[in-house]
């Protein structure tokens, strides 16, 4: 494998804020690399630099061994494309959205038609060509944005939180499309995420980012397998907590994550650990319900984020947990800020990082 992109001592300063701080990174041809880090850690800026949309304040970029300069940036930019976190569509049909980059590249019309069709199939939007892109659902819109990027078959595909704010169905369609693209076209993919789950399953390599710096890189198993000290700092991530584990007589462990919150986990570990609970694995209820879930915690809703078909809630049970429910459930439960709720999840849903 050779390096497709090479960042050497890249720093980006906005005003007096160092968004990216002295980053050295080689993206290997054909790999899927995940940038994992909390909000504001510099992932988006780094992606924009890789997409040649932002020039670094200091440092150099090499694309396929060639130094990127102000002069050749516009030409080199066509070798990569970035999908933004916020779904952004042209106010026109799905076809015109997906075909945009191909028209720019002056591809003949009949070939464009065929490519658009294939790309839409890949994101499971067959036959959506004539629909108005902005009138689709949130998940479908993001899939159009993904199709518009992957239809270009660029050497490098950059994805900024591609499935954030999406329901599980739409998210898995996008994850499938991404891995198909990587497998069949050997497209190199760099994706920013703060979804531990995604970072663990999709990529071949993970780079941890914090405060503009890459603190650690390695295979997911390496990064998640050992207790990375950098990961503990990521406790600001959704549902990631550091704590101390103690064995129980039932063969499970109890992890004390502070503020009197204890979580039961079906894994054998002792001492300091970091745990993660997928927001989708948490059941929300207004009353304590009897179930097989070993972890039932009482708390209050402190934040409500409407994401279209799903709603993300922050529930403070002593520690803040992020919970994801469908809009319908949310409406039926008549929840408000300050509402008293219970969260429940199985001991086996807790992952020890």
């Amino acid at each position: 494998m050779s390096a497709l992109v090479e960042l050497n001592s890249v720093t980006k300063i906005y005003g007096n804020k160092k968004a990216v701080d002295n980053v050295n990174l080689q993206v290997q041809e054909g790999e899927i690399l995940a940038l994992l880090g909390p909000n504001g850690s510099g992932k988006t800026t780094l992606l924009k630099i890789l997409a040649l949309l932002e020039a670094p304040t200091e440092g150099t970029i090499k694309f396929q061994g060639e130094l990127v300069t102000e002069k050749n940036a516009e030409k080199m930019r066509t070798q990569s494309t970035l999908v933004f976190q916020r779904t952004l569509l042209f106010d026109t049909t799905v076809y015109n959205n997906v075909a945009y980059g191909l028209k720019i590249r002056k591809m003949p019309r009949n070939m464009i038609d065929a490519e658009v069709k294939k790309a839409l199939q890949l994101v499971k939007l067959d036959g959506f060509e004539k629909r108005h892109a902005k009138k689709l659902s949130g998940g479908e819109q993001q899939r159009v944005a993904i199709a518009r990027a992957l239809v270009l078959k660029t050497k490098l595909l950059l994805l900024d939180e591609p499935t954030a704010n999406l329901d599980p169905k739409n998210a898995s369609i996008i994850e499938d499309a991404i891995s198909t693209l990587n497998r069949e076209y050997k497209t190199t993919i760099v994706m920013a995420t703060h979804n531990m789950f995604q970072a663990k399953s999709l990529p071949q390599r993970v780079a941890l980012m914090n405060e503009g710096q890459i603190t650690e890189t390695g295979a997911p198993a390496e990064i998640f397998g050992k207790l990375s000290k950098n990961l503990v700092r990521f406790a600001v991530l959704d549902n990631t907590f550091a704590g101390t584990a103690e064995a129980t007589s039932a063969g499970t462990i109890i992890v004390d994550i502070g503020n009197g919150v204890q979580v039961e986990v079906t894994e054998q570990r002792q001492g300091k650990v970091s745990i993660f609970v997928n927001p989708q694995d948490i059941i929300l209820s207004k009353h304590a319900v009897e179930s097989s879930a070993r972890n039932v915690l009482k708390g209050r809703v402190t934040e409500i984020k409407d994401l279209g078909s799903i709603v993300k809630l922050k529930v403070d049970v002593g520690k803040p947990f992020t919970v994801q429910v469908t809009k319908r459930s949310f409406n039926e439960m008549e929840l408000n800020l300050g509402s008293e709720v219970y969260i429940a999840f199985k001991a086996s849903s807790v992952q020890v990082l």
């Binding site: 494309t81 980059g101 019309r109």
Partner: protein, 239 residues
Amino acid sequence: MVDILGGIAKALQLIVTGDPMLYGIVYRSILFSGAAIVLAALWGTPIAMLLSLKNFRGKTIIKGFFNSLIGIPTVVLGLVLFLIFSNGGPLGFLGLLYTPAAIILGEAILVTPVLISIMVNAIEAVDPDIFTLAKTLGASESQALLAVLKEALNGVLLSNLASFNRAIAELGVALLVGGNIAGLTDVLTTAISRYTARGELDFAIALGIILMVLVFLINMAVILARKAKWVITIWRTPQ
């Protein structure tokens, strides 16, 4: 009263029979106003893009300047242009006074503030990231700017139609720099004033009716323009 009714009857007759003098005036009106809009769009569009997409010192003042000029009395602008184009004026040597070119130039200047103000609003309403999006999909700077303009297409069409409306319905500029010369520089508004002054009410009424119909049609087009973009899009999408 009989005079007025008789005037209306004769006016309708003139319209229906296609009186050449009458339609000559209509033709000139549409031609001069149309040319003025083309000219105003040529210099107004880049200015509007600059004002809406770039940040620089004094931008707000310039936007305010164009906004306040929307309401400039046409007679005042006509007078200023008359002074500039007249023999003793700074551009007197061009010999433009009382020519169609003077009317076109004058009306283009008149509608520029309208055109720019509406277009700036339309472009500013476009998501600023559209520019970056176009670029990451492979567009050059100018192609990305075009993508932004396309997103604002409804507003761009609206700015042109509103400008045309203002140009065709104005009197002061055409009268003062055009001179209202029959068969050469007279347009709907100036001809109405001339025929009315002369007491030839049938002609005045006929021209008035046509002007009203034109203005009505333009305003209908403005309403349709809000939907035009979608119609164009559907039409161009392959079956």
